[in-house]
Structure formats: C-alpha cells, structure tokens
Point group: C2
Chain length 90, copies 2
C-alpha cells in the first residue's frame, strides 16, 4: 500500500470530522497516540500485535494532521529522503 493510498483512506473516512476539529486539537490527539506508543514500547510485556496497532494508530493521526494541512506525506518523503540523503543525523 502506498503512503498516498493510506493517507487517502484516512481522508475519505475522517476528513470531514478532522476539518471541523482543526489542527490544534488534532495535534493533541496525535500526542495522545504518541503516549500510547510510548506505553507499548516501554512495557516489555506488550505483544507484537499491540505494538503494530499503536504504530498504525499514530501514523493514521499523522495522516489526519497532513490531510487538514494540505500536505502530501508521500511527496514530502520522496523529496526529502528518496531524492537525496539529508545532511546531519541524530
């Protein structure tokens, strides 16, 4: 599945509600999902399935944020990472 297809799937399903919620509140939900991912990764008893669900959820919320800010994540990734190697690393 392409990045674009997944972002589009999220748009079709949630865009109307996401637009109404707006960026600041959507960002808060995105961070709430980051917290769930932290909980899953910090706990050694977390199953692989649970981890997978948290990664899917946070990526879905990232797509939501992108949808309501008119950003095409696939295009962004290709431009920044595929076409060239970013300078510097952490």
């Amino acid at each position: 599945m392409t990045i674009k297809d997944f972002q589009q799937l999220i748009a079709e399903r949630y865009r109307k509600r996401d637009k109404a919620r707006g960026t600041p509140k959507t960002f808060m939900w995105f961070i709430e999902e980051a917290g769930e991912l932290a909980t899953a990764l910090a706990n050694e008893k977390t199953s692989k399935k649970q981890k997978e669900e948290e990664f899917a959820d946070i990526f879905a919320w990232l797509c939501t944020l992108a949808n309501i800010n008119d950003v095409d994540i696939e295009k962004a990734c290709i431009n920044k990472y595929h076409k060239k190697q970013p300078k510097g690393f952490k």
Copy 2:
C-alpha cells in the same frame, strides 16, 4: 512509494546507528520531531515546503522506531485500517 519501501529506505540508511541508540533514546528524538512539527503547524508563516519537511522527518523517525522494534508499519496499517473500520473515534 509504498509504506514498506520508505520504511526499508530508512532501515538501509540508518538501522545500524538506530539499533545502537535503542528505543528509549530514539523515542526522545521522535518527540523532538513532534515538537518541530508543532512549531511548524502553529506558526502561520510556515511555508508549505517547511511543513512537508517536518511531516517527512517525523514519519522517518516513526519508521526508525518501527525498524528497531521489528514492526512492519504497512502490514499494521492494512490490518487495522484497510481490512476493517476501527470502532470508536476521537
């Protein structure tokens, strides 16, 4: 570009360093990128190109976290969002 291809691109480029850094410190960098995304989205003067770069960066760090936790984000997204519609929403 598929989700899997992008995750693989990040793995090929950074996996060795990411494995050595480990999950907790990588999660801290992921959150640092979330902060950069917040700054970009909160500032009305942010250009579209800058927003795109922040979305690409945070997705790259999400892929890094997935790589070092043996999670396939594409598979996770298909299982959770493509095959069925999750119950409940925010």
